[in-house]
Amino acid sequence: MRSVDELVLPEALGYTENHEWARKDGSEVVAGITDYAQEELGDIVYAELPEIGQSFEKGAEFGTVESVKAVAELYMPVAGEITGINQELENRPDLVNEDPYGRGWLVTIKPADPGEIQSLMDKTAYYELLKGL
């Protein structure tokens, strides 16, 4: 397991205490799990994602990510409607390990409140959280 300082934490993202990340992409929000989460889980084998069109509250469970030995629930970083899911993960779940912030994205969301993403932790706050674990 890499140390906290070795983990990748991109600057421009918002983070949750459940180890999800979110970023604005036009009017939408893209979300996934952080480098810490994928490292903890180990080799990802499957992602269970919701259907396009489903709506969730902030903090509601919208899916799961599975490794060989563990399952992690996924919680909405912001409230909104699912507008896209990463189909590539069906055949390449390892993309979540390889590139958690890029090709390993999980869902795109049309946020109920476009400003809500500002309330997420920034990189520094998330880093502090990780140090404290």
Binding site: Y46, E66, A70, V71
Partner: protein, 443 residues
């Protein structure tokens, strides 16, 4: 005692290493109030001689019978090969294969069982077994609710599913808001599925084939109607040998096929252990309960097998698992695989045909003797016959002193079927046995 190897000097050395004076000291943490106040009142220890004599006396109280009895357990011949191979202690005394490198025997044997089961039932995948047919049906219906992502609605069962299976389903569903309803019976002994068209909120529909009365259901027709309701189509069975003769559920629209595999190499054993079989489509694999073995490679690229998709199961998923099942009927699954391997495609078909033909012979002879067979649908190795009202007394006499059990009296199971008997004929029954039975009922 021969299972307890410790000598006094062993114990003394070990107590010394631990740093206590006596074994009693090892239990110091048990509060006084919880301790047993007296020695357990159990029979004094029996030697192997005494125990064998005692148990043999009890076993002798169940002499051999010629049984024309099915109703969920079928008396088939078990080849000596099966019995012999299953005495191998590496298969018998091993644990669940959580350390695959030292459990490849169990793992490959179960992978082969899964494959043969899937082929037998005409579906893509099978799990590594459930406890028995009844719990397999209950778990299949729970699986159906997960596939449809429903937390309430109707579970529709054919009333010709084995009554004990229906009871188990009701018990498993008691804590849930699902409503269990039953489909009635047609005159020909099959399920009347017409009521399904008017039902709303149907989550799953289950039918048994051959059903409890021995009749083979029109699974394809059933399946078409179920598809229209968008419900999950579950079929179950108590006699898998039927699929050596008849079309399996997979090709007829079944989403999940489950049932009792006891006919495949297990003795009747007074009802247990059994073998719960469960097969389904690959699409539903992540909703499927139970263990499952998958193929993979090792660090050197050699083929091997592991338990896989464990994140569905209780030891990882805990409260959110697809089931609470841990121990399954693994050894029975291996027995079934050995049995299916012994029979092969040709043997399985021939054995099924023989069961069918013998049963048809008995049906013919009973009809010729003037008995009524009320249900006209095709059967496999079981059917219902109406016998004279005074046969009731003869039935008891034949069982007690004649060594013949003339089927299952249906009076206790269905009050409207008083004087009706469910008869079963397997390859263990001879023509002479059947002629004698016909003679007994005609007198």
């Amino acid at each position: 005692m021969r299972y307890l190897p410790h000598t006094d000097s062993d114990i003394a050395a070990m107590l010394k290493a631990i740093g206590v004076d006596s074994t009693d000291d090892l239990f110091a943490n048990i509060p006084e109030a919880a301790r047993s106040s007296r020695e357990m009142d159990l029979p004094p220890a029996m030697s192997e001689w005494e125990m064998r004599a005692y148990m043999e006396r009890l076993a002798a109280e169940s002499p051999d019978h010629k049984i024309f009895l099915g109703a969920g357990k079928y008396d088939h011949y078990i080849p000596a090969t099966v019995t012999n191979l299953l005495e191998r202690s590496e298969l018998l005394t091993s644990y669940t294969p959580y350390q695959p490198e030292v459990s490849q025997g169990t793992l490959q044997a179960v992978y082969e069982y899964q494959t043969l089961t899937a082929r037998l039932l005409g579906l893509e995948i099978s799990n590594a077994s459930m406890y028995d047919g009844a719990s397999a049906l209950a778990e299949s219906l729970l699986m159906a609710t997960r596939i449809r992502k429903k937390s309430k609605g109707k579970i529709v069962l054919s009333s010709l599913i084995h009554p004990s299976y229906c009871q188990v389903v009701k018990t498993y569903f008691r804590p849930t808001p699902f409503e269990i309803t039953f489909l009635p019976v047609l005159a020909d002994g099959r399920t009347d599925v017409s009521a399904l068209a008017d039902m709303g909120d149907v989550v799953a529909v289950a039918v048994q084939s051959p059903n409890f009365l021995g009749c083979v259901e029109d699974l394809a027709g059933f399946g078409d109607l179920v598809t229209q309701t968008k419900a999950i189509f579950v079929t179950c069975f108590t006699e898998p040998l039927a699929y050596g003769l008849y079309q399996p559920p997979g090709g007829q629209g079944a989403d999940i096929a489950c049932g009792e595999g006891g006919s495949l190499g297990l003795p009747p054993g007074y009802g247990g252990p059994g073998l719960g079989m469960l097969a389904t489509k690959m699409d539903y694999v992540r909703r499927m309960p139970g263990r499952v073995v998958g193929k993979t490679t090792d660090a050197n690229g050699k083929d091997g097998f592991v338990l896989t998709l464990a994140t569905r199961e209780q030891h990882i998923r805990r409260a959110r698992a697809t089931s609470n099942i841990c121990t399954n009927s693994n050894f029975c699954a291996i027995a079934a695989a050995v049995y299916m391997a012994c029979l092969g495609k040709t043997g399985f078909r021939e054995l099924a045909r023989l069961n069918y033909d013998k049963t048809e012979y008995l049906k013919q002879q009973l009809r010729r003797a003037g008995m009524t067979l009320p249900f006209g649908a095709p059967t496999f190795n079981e059917f219902v016959v109406k016998l004279p009202p005074d046969f009731k007394r003869k039935y008891a006499d034949l069982a007690a002193s004649g060594g013949i059990v003339a089927g299952l009296p249906l009076a206790d199971w269905y009050p409207e079927l008083a004087d009706h008997y469910l008869l079963c004929v397997t390859e263990k029954i001879t023509r002479a046995d059947m002629d004698q039975l016909v003679k007994e009922v005609s007198e």
